[in-house]
């Protein structure tokens, strides 16, 4: 078997602190660590620009610490494994990201992230911090039906938002414009994930849920949330042929559209497999006369060593393409 449950960590209760120390030590040219849990740019943005923050559970590396840097986020507030940070830390993050242009809290829709962002906004109000706003982001078509998009979860497709919004906030747009852009990207983005395996929790040292070898589940969430039920694992082309049509239908993406494509590795899928999957996705998109502007293939938001991937599409216009091509320099997102 290729299983493992043992993780190369020390004591679970020190895990997040130690990993952030290691990460920030390795990338001290890009980030610095404040107060154990705030990862922020080594060089802050120019005054007057909108600050971007995100608070989220840890355990999804390189998300989101790897996306702090020029052309990306200003501050990441890291929670415990798979648990959003509390509101006091969020407020500290908001203060740190404030360059005088206001701060946008980006929320990848999960209960903890949303509730703590709401609490943080209430605290800001109480403390007289204004010019802070929040944007709720989601992309996973399996977690709620069409027409009820705001109930959907945030997953890998939000990396399109992060990249484009990050580039936008290096420019002169204000807080309202930044929020509008985030919503525009979100509303043009759709994702669907699948998984072939479970993974072990670094906190408990136990497998997070059971999954028999040879099974797969379409629609699984970033923490193993159930999707559309188990089925026999398929080959690469068959898997894409199952996942792409509902994605295309949902927006819908249509002939003549130009898209960005992301194949996100949940953990232990190989790049080899992702390339084979991409080959089919590209062929099927070409058949549908949808042209690919750029693509990303790799581990962006992981769920420990889960073997699976998410396929995400984002329809782009000229503004979005230019934002895509703008430089970025996060530890795990580099655009020359």
């Amino acid at each position: 078997m290729t299983a493992r449950v043992h993780k190369l960590i020390n004591r679970p209760e020190n895990l997040v602190d130690e990993m952030l120390e290691g990460f920030c030590a390795a990338h001290s040219d890009i980030v610095r660590l404040v107060d154990k849990r705030l990862v922020m740019r080594a060089q802050p943005k120019a005054p007057g620009k909108v600050g971007l923050i995100i608070g989220c559970g840890s355990g999804h590396e390189p998300a989101m610490t790897g996306w702090i840097g020029e052309g990306l986020f200003d501050v990441n507030i890291a929670g415990e494994i798979f648990a959003a940070p509390g509101p006091a830390l969020m407020v500290q993050g908001i203060r740190a990201a404030d360059n005088g242009g206001g701060v946008l809290i980006c929320v990848s829709h999960h209960a903890g992230d949303l509730l703590n962002a709401e609490l943080a906004l209430e605290l800001c109000e109480a403390e007289g911090i204004d010019n802070v706003d929040m944007v709720l982001l989601y992309d996973d078509i399996s977690s709620a039906p069409k027409g009820r998009e705001p109930e959907r979860r945030g997953t890998a497709g939000l990396f399109f938002v992060w990249k484009l919004l990050g580039a936008f906030c290096e420019g002169d747009g204000d807080l309202a414009a930044a929020k509008a852009l985030a919503e525009k990207v979100r509303d043009n983005t759709r994702s669907l994930a699948m998984s072939l395996s479970s993974c072990a929790s670094p906190v408990t040292g136990e497998v997070m849920f059971e999954m028999a070898p040879g099974e797969m589940e379409i629609g699984m969430g970033l923490h193993g949330e159930v999707g559309m039920g188990r089925q026999k694992a398929l080959g690469a082309d068959e898997t894409i042929d199952l996942m792409l049509p509902p994605l295309l239908e949902d927006l819908p993406f249509q002939a003549g559209d130009e898209v960005l494509v992301l194949l996100n590795n949940s953990g232990s899928l190989t790049l080899m497999e992702l390339f084979v999957l991409y080959r089919r996705a590209a062929a099927k998109l070409a058949e549908a006369e949808i042209s690919v502007y750029r693509s990303w293939i790799g581990p962006y938001a992981t769920t420990q060593e889960m073997a699976g991937f998410a396929l995400s599409l984002c329809r782009v216009d000229e503004q979005m393409k230019a934002l895509w091509d703008a430089p970025a320099n996060g530890a795990y997102m580099k655009q020359l």
Partner: protein, 210 residues
Amino acid sequence: MSAIGAQDLSALIQAMAERVAAEREALNRLDAALGDGDHGTSISTAFAVAVEEIEALEQPSLNAIWLATAKALMNRMGGASGAIFGTFFLKGVATLRDADRLHKDAMGALLAAGLEGVKARGKAGVGDKTMVDALAPAVAAFGAADEFASAWRAAAAAARTGAESTRDQVARQGRAKFLGERAIGQQDPGATTIALMFEASHLWWKENKQ
């Protein structure tokens, strides 16, 4: 007529803290079946911080004690449950104003405000397999009783019954939501914590104020 003063309130929080700490592993086990197995650790750590923060208060008013508890739960638990348990205390704070003693109805109002806050924040109702299944009947039973002793007793019993009722439910909020039918047969850890909190309060009342 009996009432709860600031010293009583901090003793009450401490009683809750001790009770969840004692049940820490049992709560972790419940959460392992439905979620990520950390509920006992999170809630007991956060309550322990609340007790410390209360002890450190320079002006330990009712208001300050309840707010310190809210902050400890919100900030030390993190995640959705930290926000939910924190909100329960946070939303009561406004009902306290400058009061220095709580009569039974004021205590009921404090709890009721917390429940409303939790429901508004977390969007869970009774039957969704969350702590609301224990909290809602407990708050109702507390409100319906005439005086403290019977109020605590009825609330503790209602919370326990409510917590047990979660066994037959499919979750519609919290991590267990993503388990679908697989959640049936397991008792919700958050609801169990609420039962422990009310049982601890009832016991404390019996031993100290009756």
